[in-house]
Point group: C2
Chain length 133, copies 2
DNA sequence: CAATACTTTTGAACGATTCTAAAATAAAAA
DNA sequence: TTTTTATTTTAGAATCGTTCAAAAGTATTG
């Protein structure tokens, strides 16, 4: 188990300038870790924490973090877009009633029988969503 | 192999009034079958076939058909929402470059190790999307 | 055919997200 | 430091896919 990184270290190693906004958002995401987060939820959490940040910056930051591999973007249905602070390979339960997601560690689920890919194609990732009601 | 149903029969058995618009859309979807269809694509196909129908009706109809189990709605990412004319249980390749989907029959892929569900919960369906680039 | 129920249409409204370009801030250079 | 340059943030407008509202049209029932 590696020691947890500070927001500053996280931004440094992702090659992103440690601005006030990014540091605050990184802290909310990776220190006070909440797993499955929407842009709106993070924006409101920032506001209620007294962190002054615009919604556009929340979106920018979530997208930058995703591009740098610090977050994983999960789209479950047309009105549920989450950012997942767990970037390890894993799967999800989706509770249709509440809109909640719950992790399934990748090592408990086994898949086999994946058909051959077309020439030159490579698997980027495999998403399994078990929809539960 | 059952004989293919006519648009009229499809609408009848789904308990939907056979209007001109629904008959045309059903024909495009289930007779001149195109598998993975967006609302916009269907709207334009209708127009170029000389079928006069509004975009709102295309959306209404796709949603009604989905609710009646004639279509399956697949959301792959924030800007790719498809309706699948194959409602049998199956999975998908998603080609990130082109945005195309390709079916994987459910019987070729095997999963096991699904964790126990919380009390009272039941699995609605399992979606596997293999993202390929 | 008249009455009722449902469907379609247009255009406005919506919510989530992205864009724009001006103001602010960070980093690098002097 | 101070200045310069590069990057980031911001507010608000714009965009996109989709849904809504209410009036007009069409199917079904009696």
């Amino acid at each position: 188990m590696l020691p947890p990184k500070s927001p500053l270290q996280i931004l440094r190693s992702a090659d992103l300038r440690p601005t006030r906004q990014r540091l605050s958002l990184a802290k909310m995401l990776f220190v006070e870790c909440d797993q499955h987060v929407t842009a709106d939820w993070l924006y409101n959490k920032a506001l209620s924490n007294g962190v002054s940040v615009s919604l556009a910056t929340v979106y920018n930051t979530l997208n930058q973090f995703t591009k740098k591999g610090l977050l994983r973007h999960i789209i479950v249905d047309s009105n549920s877009s989450y950012f997942d602070t767990n970037t390890n390979h894993h799967h999800h339960f989706f509770f249709e009633g509440t809109g909640q997601l719950k992790d399934i560690p990748s090592d408990v689920i086994k898949i086999h029988g994946i058909p051959l890919l077309p020439d030159g194609a490579t698997i980027d990732r495999i998403d399994i969503i078990i929809r539960v009601r």
